[in-house]
Symmetry: D2
Subunit: 332 residues, 4 copies
């Protein structure tokens, strides 16, 4: 059985914050759900001569589908969000470069006095056969291509402590993480901070390099099937965690970037230590010699990073959250 | 023809700085050379009950083999250093955790007032058949394993502007980059700053996770075959560049970590733009949607990062440094 | 005429967020108002053997008095908040050191694996005659003293874009700035983001060094007289601004610390340029040779900094926000 | 008795590194010495239409007078460098803004893709009577003024561990600190790393705001009288320390800026603890409530910061380095 959420399909239905909303639906654990998510510009930026800031003026960027209340999730529980399938809902995606935004520009967080860089829009075409997205340069003389790898830049829950936060800011509640691992086959674990957890999903990316340097991925609407479960973990978790068939990972969001890495890797050391009954220093040693670190974004108000270790490297072959990933994978 | 450097094999022969030395030998371009490099502790730390700081007191860590003068290299030229083969010279490697060192500890660069963490040594065994290194935890109850992937933590040249720098500090001249890509099959490009460039090699790693978090990789002596060439590039390069069969990359060293990423990615955008005749913004777009970013170390006085793009994504299939990588690969 | 706000005086009356509240009162522009603010621990931490985290568990720290609606303030306007008098409401203040908090400890934003530092409480006595606060060391053998200089660690308004934020996080809306300049005789300028602006005040400090390094100042309840005005500035402002009889300043909040300095100094260059009809580069030059930079805090989720220039250095003796500081000073 | 160093007075006599030189003279402890230091551009930039990069191409900036060998200083000792008088040697100073340099521009350490800022030169006139330096804006319509407060941007010694470093990079050996406190009446303490310590002095500043934001102060040649002493401290010191009649301070150099603050303040906590026999946490508390933090520069490869506490706040009125500051003050 799959439950389909027919909407939201119109701009008025989307929200731009984490927290403060009445859920748009209740989701039963372990029942797949189909949702639609708009692109970061609400589908309103579709030509190279349009102005991003006019079509999607800040802060009306990154519209969110949700919140979805997960039945049975109480504050402190862990919500498992398993992504089953992500399908581009359009044949094109869009990317931009904007003044005062991006990793290679001064921004409102690290301003400078240089002249601003130009604004540019690229429309990328989806080539499902080739598994690519392609575009042409401004002068039309060259074709650019990138692998088609859809994922959600944003999956998050209502923040802790009653905060209401803009959709652009990732943090302990997940959100704008921009991690390509958050795709079909992956389970994301987030701490529930309110009854029902209130899950928000959005910011579909058809392709993205590490760091989302220019400030956007190839942004595109997605038709996504996902499924939830609730883990009654004793102490819950603080930062988002990720599980795939082959790896476990922990997310950190911070500036400067090394502090995001510290959050992610210290969390991973603690998790590995707990799963495999290793001392902290032995777990630190194992993580140090085997981890993979992914920079999600280097452009949002907090940068995002995830640190991973292969499950096969964990001594003892431990059960992770009671095997919920495998169990949800089977539903899928 | 391969030229073998019989030494240095004794501790007294190694050096601990970049710059300021008379070359130990002259290397002709395109003639392979066999060298031996000691481990980071000069081979003097070989048991778990030894004290790293007594066996290899700072700054006598990271002994370097070199400098090797590359015939024909003049300041401003690019020296291509192609690694042909790296073979562990011992059946064991060593890793440590030390007070005031590592990504998850206060250090002399970012001190705190907490009690210091303990000192620990792990001896890792090389299992060439399984392609792994393995060790046991302090309590002997668990076995830890990591993939055997030898690479040089350090390859560098004499610094620009007459500086003499400790071997632990990576910078524009390469050095302690801790990038696993610097292994067999890779060409590293460095700007020559003195006649002959003066190449130094060391810091063999049998295994390492991203960031070298705990402060050391699985450190091990290496028998390495490598070959040089000189590229008479008009303007040369500033930061180290990397080429493999599949990718090109640019290195950045800085703190905070985002600035290392900025150096690497801005350099990569410029290189892609130049190679493919793309405008800066189009090259930025291509890099943004296709790049891979590797964190080399998060523990040295300057952090190191490399950003890569697949060569297949470069429009026009350009010649890179006149095809020197392919040419050296053929010699190998 | 001075209007006295009899409450809030009980813990239940305080709030712990910026945004999302109905105002507790309406304030007419240019009519002084007397308020009471609780200390950062809600007055519940008053002995050296009490546990801070039990007495004031996170996030119930930094209780706020407010919000106060300023009549006539519309979004985009500048609210001038002039502090007339700040009087310690008690004869003691309190300071702490806590695990995982402070500039010289790992924290949840930059974790490490070292053992945590101890928790400690100091009760500081107010000596109004000597103009000092004093305490004794844990072993009772030494007396510590600091100058009594009361100021508000927190003055802020409802955030832009509908966010609701914890009281500990300073940002563009002001809040937990920890700047000693925010004291009697100073006018703070904040952009109104909602009708009435919704001003919150709290976090009285009897003494504090630069950076609030250990994580708290000498925290104390205050009886404060202040007065508001509304400036119908055409474009308003983005970041908080400060005016005293002798200086003007701009605030920045960010991590890493240099980015907070960049926000503050770039804002100051722009303001000086506008006030004195200097080109950006000439204003930059003037600021570079004459500015004073104060580090407010180095412990909150965003660090705070203010950059100042002497008014006497501004060519042309310009009117600042139409002379509202002088005008409010006269009311005081 | 005052010893006068007649040279260096010509450009060829200056050096541009710390370390690696034969001393230009031997200085006896406690005998005042007169030296001349050139400005940062070797006196070659004296008109607004000259190009800084042509007149003083990198790395030939910040010429140093020295090294001066201090008789009796052995590695591990503390060299006390007391500044007696600093007199502008010319009636003008010079300041610049350059592309890719300064706190409010991308630089080679944190590059961006924006167009570069323009290059500009200001010639500042010294008005000894008014105690000011003054210049005019590019359009000639406004006069800019700053207080005349001469100090040395650079005082340093030969680096530890045999390094040779460019004059622009401050570090543990002092160097390009850009701290206005390093002026007449101040004693700077540096650890001797080589016999004789090898002191270098330069980079006179006639005026400078905090952070040296635009990349230069008002740069000017100085005639300086100074005197040395050697303190046979048991353990020596690591980072530079400063003493004035009223304060003691510790310097830190690092990126990001908060790490420079951590070095300076952790060092100050340790020093206060040692001087006053306070526990680390009590010293931390005292420093937290009373310290002053000065940002020296935010533009060099390592940023510089100093943290100070008033001597009057130190319990017990301790002797600092055996009273050498007072003793040298009396010689002056």
């Amino acid at each position: 059985m799959v439950r389909t959420v027919s909407g939201p399909r119109s701009a008025g239905d989307f929200v731009f914050h984490f927290g403060g909303h009445t859920p748009i639906l209740q989701a039963a654990p372990r029942v797949p759900l189909d949702i639609f998510t708009e692109d970061a510009f609400s589908g309103r930026l579709s030509a190279v001569d349009q102005k991003p800031r006019e079509r999607a003026p800040f802060p009306r960027v990154n519209p969110l589908t949700g919140p979805i209340a997960v039945e049975g999730a109480l504050p402190g529980d862990v919500v498992a969000i398993h992504l089953i399938a992500l399908v581009p809902a359009r044949d094109w995606g869009v990317a931009t470069v904007s003044p005062n935004f991006g990793a290679l520009s001064g921004t409102r967080n690290n301003p400078n006095l240089q002249p601003e860089q130009d604004e540019r829009v690229w429309i990328w075409q989806v080539d499902r056969t080739a598994g690519e997205v392609t575009t042409t340069t401004a002068d039309g003389r060259a074709r650019l291509a990138a692998p088609l790898r859809p994922f959600h830049g944003i999956v998050g829950v209502a923040p802790p402590h009653g905060e209401v936060r803009l959709s652009v800011v990732p943090d302990v509640f997940g959100g704008n993480l921009d991690l390509p691992e958050i795709t079909a086959g992956t389970t994301l674990y987030l701490r529930a901070n309110v009854p029902g957890a209130h899950v928000y999903v959005g910011d579909g990316h058809y392709a993205q390099g590490d760091g989302e340097l220019a400030g956007t991925a190839v942004e595109g609407a997605l038709d996504t099937r996902l499924v939830f479960d609730v883990v009654k973990a004793r102490d819950g978790i603080e930062w988002p965690r990720i599980e795939t068939d082959g790896e476990i990972g922990v997310v950190g969001c911070a500036r400067p970037l090394e502090d995001a890495v510290r959050i992610a890797t210290a969390g991973l050391v603690a998790w590995v230590s707990e799963l495999s009954a290793l001392s902290t220093l032995d777990a630190y040693q194992l993580v140090s010699q085997t981890c993979r670190i992914r920079i999600g974004n280097l452009v949002n108000p907090l940068y995002s990073v995830a640190a991973f270790v292969p499950k096969a490297r964990l001594p003892g072959g431990p059960a992770i959250f009671g095997g919920v990933h495998r169990s949800l994978r089977d539903i899928a």
